[in-house]
């Protein structure tokens, strides 16, 4: 999220500088992959989305408008691609719960603690609008304003979706006993 550095890299990329392209990929591969993974809950799909994002970025980089922040642009492409993948998956072959589970691979079994898995599970229960703002806020570390810019929605809507999403996740986690205040209904 370094505006000047990104602008310089983008400028070099437009001129066909392969070192700059590599640097841009180095800088954004992890955040793009992680945002896609948290939205899709699946490593393979997130890797596919990440590849497509960079192909689109470099295909259209000459059209990028530098008055916007580069990270907002690449995040917007990433979120759109991830959501498009969610829709495709829904149309093509509705995944069984076991396939849709974010914990189906051995690596994924090993990666997280139980609470992290439950939180990812609760995240996957949210609709895409809510899930996206949670991912951008808590995994990508974006501010309300940045989320508003990436999703092109008013900040007020960002807040409303975020607060509702948190409430739903809290309820879901309390229902599974993940937080210790199930005695009180909230």
């Amino acid at each position: 999220m370094h505006k000047d550095k990104d602008a310089a890299l983008v400028h070099d990329c437009v001129r066909g500088d392969r070192t700059a392209m590599t640097q841009l990929v180095n800088q954004y591969e992890r955040p793009v992959f992680n945002a896609a993974y948290r939205i899709l809950g699946n490593t393979d799909d997130a890797a596919d989305v990440t590849q497509t994002v960079f192909l689109k970025v470099f295909e259209h980089i000459a059209d990028y408008d530098p008055k916007f922040r580069f990270f907002s642009w690449i995040y917007r492409i990433s979120i759109n691609e991830a959501l498009s993948q969610v829709k495709k998956r829904r149309h093509q072959e509705p995944l069984a719960d076991s396939q849709a589970s974010p914990w189906r691979s051995p690596e994924e079994h090993l990666e997280s603690k139980k609470l992290c898995n439950r939180v990812q599970g609760a995240l996957m229960e949210l609709n895409e609008d809510y899930r996206t703002v949670v991912v951008l806020k808590h995994m990508s570390g974006c501010s309300y304003r940045q989320i508003s810019e990436i999703l092109q929605i008013p900040e007020k809507t960002v807040k409303s979706r975020l607060y509702s999403a948190r409430q739903l996740m809290k309820n879901s986690l309390q229902a599974t006993g993940s937080y210790g205040d199930t005695g009180r209904q909230s």
Binding site: C13, R18, T52, F54, K88, Y163, S164, K170, Y179
Partner: protein, 271 residues
């Protein structure tokens, strides 16, 4: 439907919930902070909700970053560079027209990009020939349409048709990598072993293997891919720093169907 209804009934009013959320995000003014503190001091329910929300946001903020698959960086760079060879970055009068590249990116079968695009052509070919073996014409037409310019330089190839499994493997050079492009069709379980030990090569990744049916094991110059049904995947290799052109030996391939060796081949990286 209001947010409140959607998120379930709560003994805490919406104004207090908004204050709590904004407080968690560090968005409160001094006066609002004081108001929230007072509300918290008076309401046990609000304190419970506050603790739960803090736990949730703390867990969300602390979720570990996922490590992207090892192959991903190389595959991205290779595909990006290959696409640049097809369509240079410099903006031209054609740049806004949807080209072949955009067409397949937006197509519903674009899940794994180039590899799957070729796989789809393969699939069409297989369905067209039904249960018949793959003919040389079938496979050459598969690779000669969409993939003609994007596949890279063909260095060597092997093909086999047996009653247990049909397949083809091409050795290609593309964007500084060596690719073994494998097409397989079998009714049962298949294993492909690629031995590149002592060649000054290292494994860079696999692209296109269908997640639900495939598995990859790598060890000391050997890659073993288990799969079933129809598969099309690319094994990516790259030269190590100690690679020497004159010390090359062929890459060795073995294809097993239901644990029976059905085909062996050697592919040579011609310079």
């Amino acid at each position: 439907m209001s947010e409140h209804t959607r998120t379930g009934q709560s003994p805490v009013d919406q104004h207090s919930l908004n204050l709590l959320n904004r407080g968690i995000d560090g968005e409160l003014s001094t006066a609002e902070r004081a108001e929230l503190d007072e509300l918290l001091s008076k309401s046990a329910d609000l304190r419970v909700v506050s603790e739960a929300l803090k736990s949730l946001t703390s867990t969300l903020d602390g979720l570990p970053e996922r490590e992207p698959p090892e192959y991903l960086h190389n595959v991205i760079m290779s595909r990006v560079l290959a696409s640049q060879e097809q369509a240079p970055l410099a903006k031209s009068s054609e740049s806004n027209k949807p080209g072949l590249f955009s067409a397949w990116l937006s197509a519903p079968w674009a899940r794994t990009g180039l590899a799957v695009a070729a796989g789809l052509v393969l699939t069409v070919g297989i369905y067209r020939t039904g249960s018949e073996n793959l003919s040389p014409e079938d496979t050459s037409s598969m690779t000669g349409t969409i993939m003609k310019d994007l596949k890279g330089t063909l260095l060597d190839s092997t093909q086999f048709n047996t009653k247990w499994m049909n397949g083809k493997a091409d050795l290609l050079r593309k964007s500084g990598f060596l690719l073994v492009d494998v097409y397989l069709k079998s009714d049962g379980q298949t294993v492909t072993n690629l031995d590149f030990s002592g060649q000054g090569l290292e494994y860079a990744g696999i692209n296109g293997l269908q997640g639900q049916t495939g598995d990859v094991v790598t060890e000391n110059g050997l890659v073993s891919v288990s799969s079933s049904g129809q598969q099309h995947y690319e094994l990516w290799l790259k030269h190590t720093a100690d690679f020497q052109v004159d010390s090359q030996t062929p890459l060795r391939l073995e294809f097993f169907a239901n644990d029976v060796l059905v085909h062996e081949a050697e592919l040579v990286e011609t310079q």
